[in-house]
Amino acid sequence: MKKLYIHPLPVRIWHWTNAVGFVLLILSGLQIRYLDLFQWVTFRTAVVAHNWIGFVLIANFFIWLGFYLFSDKIKVYHPELSPTKYFQASFKQIQFYGYGIFRGEPNPHHPSAYRKFNPLQSMMYQIIMMMLVPAQFFTGLLLWDVARFSSIVEALGGLRVVDTVHVLLFIVFSGFIVVHVYLASLGHTPSAHFKAMLTGYEEIEDEEEHH
């Protein structure tokens, strides 16, 4: 085993702030939407908390964006431009999670400081971070003060449309968080990836051990 520093401090701060924030947003969002089912706090408290956490996470998003824009670590998000290579690698990764992992086969992806994501993660995180998360923040901002942004809300098709997009993304993130936690437990030990996201160091199995 060797240790590789693949999660820089700003990324870890962003990640855990984001994680706690998203859980709180999901919980407060659940109460706001399903007041008949959940009444952990008053409705107003849930709304105010939801708004504040939303703003914290918007600021947090810019920490993440700023870090990657102004460091060479942005390479971790560089897409594989050859579709053949990308789909082959993705297929291998899917094959691993769907079959190889049961047989104890090694993970086909070998992380490094500049290639920490496997092909599936790479695509998924680009979609999430550059499309879904900004869309959620944007719709959330519009819903925070509908009257202030009424012209944008109207242009997007009305309040009901904006809210439906926000809720659809909420559903996606609710599902994502559960799967994300499970996938994070599929390291060489169940806690390996969690520890790595806390310390920054990922334990990498030596190449020789696989062959």
């Binding site: 399903y34 007041l35 008949d36 107003r44 049961f102 009257a147 009305g158 009901r160 559903i171 799967v179």
Partner: protein, 463 residues
């Protein structure tokens, strides 16, 4: 100048301060004289002649429909009225002194007489008449209403006084037609304060205007009036109410400030381009026809019917798309006048934001009728939570209570899937534990065998 002039001599004899005092006394005497003259209006001979007959008990006329029109005019009330400076002929120029009182009346009814006199007021009160002409009252008359008020229904021309003198509140002319609403008002926070504190609290015309009165449930006029007096309302609500601007736009004030009222959702038709509320054209009863056609069973418009009705209106409106803007409001005019003290107003978010909340159990579609009054048709409550009506009612949404049901199902499916897939994966992984261990053992054995069979580096090295 000759100083021996008698006036100059008199002036010269007075000291400056005495001159000022004398001037003031003169002015006072002059004003007092004018005032006395104003109080005791000296009627002209012509008016005295008219009143000589008309200020007698029992002066009346039987009209063609059998109604009896009192012709009595109290001289006392007349000289105290705003019209005391006017001559009788100013308004009754059509009367011929030669035939007056000598021929049988050609007036059909009291209403007919009132209508025939309507234009007389316009001669002097052009501005007020123009306002009235744009009102719901005038629109009703143009549509043939026999009840809507004309000038003299509210202002008796022979006794009319300044509105500033209207006391008590029951003297307001609106009571005659809107009695149930007035009764509610007289017991609500405004009515009670009006009686207790006078004009600091509003009477009917302060909110609804006296002459250009519009249907309160159309437009935003009354809300603007509320904010006109309660200027701090928006800021005060913003202290505790999230999305204050949206709440102000989508909820009428009485919906929260008449806490015991029943509420409903009013979906109003607007022109998407001009943002103006759509009105039914006079003589073309399009709304009722389309709504009735779309709702053959009379159960209220469903999502599909609402959508097709909007489409029909959009076509009629040429390039402009017709959209619905929803508003939460109280169900009746009486309830809109049951305003409570501020401390009793609704502040509990649960009243509206919980599934099944009562305000969303009644939905109506509204258009401004040709007479200025709202035309309504019932809408099924399911449209507020249906995915297919998302476009139709896109302008109205209340978190929690009008949520789209399909999204709830999707959430359950996604979360269930997100939990079940890992559980399934984990289960398979456990089931394969034996296989993994066997394969791992085989791999290790193969590695050992390979290591044992492989030539040693020093053996293979060239000597």
């Amino acid at each position: 100048m000759n100083s021996s002039h008698p006036f100059t001599g008199l002036m010269a004899g007075l000291r400056p301060n005495r001159l000022v005092i004398a001037g003031l006394i003169g002015l006072f005497i002059g004003l007092a004289g004018l005032s006395a003259q104003a109080e005791e209006v000296e009627l002209a001979k012509a008016e005295k002649d008219c009143l000589a007959c008309h200020d007698k008990e029992g002066v009346k006329k039987t009209l063609q429909n059998g109604e009896v029109l009192s012709m009595r005019i109290s001289t006392k009330a007349y000289v105290e009225s705003m019209h005391k400076e006017n001559s009788c002929e100013d308004c009754h120029a059509d009367l011929d002194a030669k035939t007056h009182g000598k021929v049988k009346s050609d007036i059909k009814s009291k209403r007919d007489f009132t209508v025939s006199q309507g234009d007389v007021c316009k001669e002097c009160h052009k501005k007020k008449y123009a306002q009235y002409d744009d009102s719901v009252h005038a629109a009703l008359i143009k549509e043939g209403s026999k009840k809507a008020p004309l000038c003299s229904d509210c202002h008796n021309p022979h006794t009319v006084q300044s509105v500033k003198l209207v006391q008590p509140i029951e003297a307001t002319p609106c009571v005659k037609c809107h009695e149930p609403i007035f009764k509610a008002y007289s017991k609500d926070v405004h009515g009670l304060e009006r009686v207790a504190k006078g004009k600091s609290a509003p009477l009917c015309s302060d909110c609804h205007q006296a002459h250009d009165v519009k249907a309160a449930s159309l437009g935003e006029g009354v809300k603007d009036t509320c904010i006109g007096c309660h200027k701090e309302a928006l800021a005060q609500h913003a202290d505790w109410l999230p999305n204050t601007g949206r709440h102000f736009a989508a909820i009428s004030c009485p919906a929260c400030h008449a806490p015991n009222a029943q509420r409903r959702v009013n979906l109003r038709l607007f022109d998407g381009a001009t943002n103006a509320q759509i009105s039914e054209k006079s003589g073309v009863p399009q709304f009722a026809r389309l709504a009735n056609d779309a709702d053959a069973k009379g159960m209220g418009l469903d999502e599909r019917a609402l959508w097709s009705l909007l489409k029909e209106f959009s076509q009629e409106g040429a390039d402009n798309k017709t959209v619905l803007r929803g508003r939460l409001e109280v169900r009746s005019g009486v309830e809109a006048h049951q305003l409570s003290e501020k401390s009793k107003a609704l502040k509990d978010c649960n009243v509206c934001h919980k599934e099944g909340a009562s305000p969303f159990q009644s939905v109506t579609l509204t258009i401004a009728g040709p007479d200025g009054r709202p035309l309504r048709h019932g809408v099924q409550t399911a449209v507020l939570s249906s995915l297919t009506s998302m476009d139709s009612v896109r302008g109205f949404y209340a978190i929690g209570s009008t949520r789209i049901k399909l999204l709830d199902i999707l959430l359950v499916l996604v979360v269930a899937g997100a939990v079940c897939v890992p559980l399934g994966h984990m289960t398979i992984k456990r089931l394969f534990k034996g296989v993994r261990e066997r394969l791992e053992a085989e791999r290790l054995a193969a590695q050992h065998a390979a290591a044992a069979g492989a030539p040693q580096p020093d053996e293979t090295a060239p000597k």
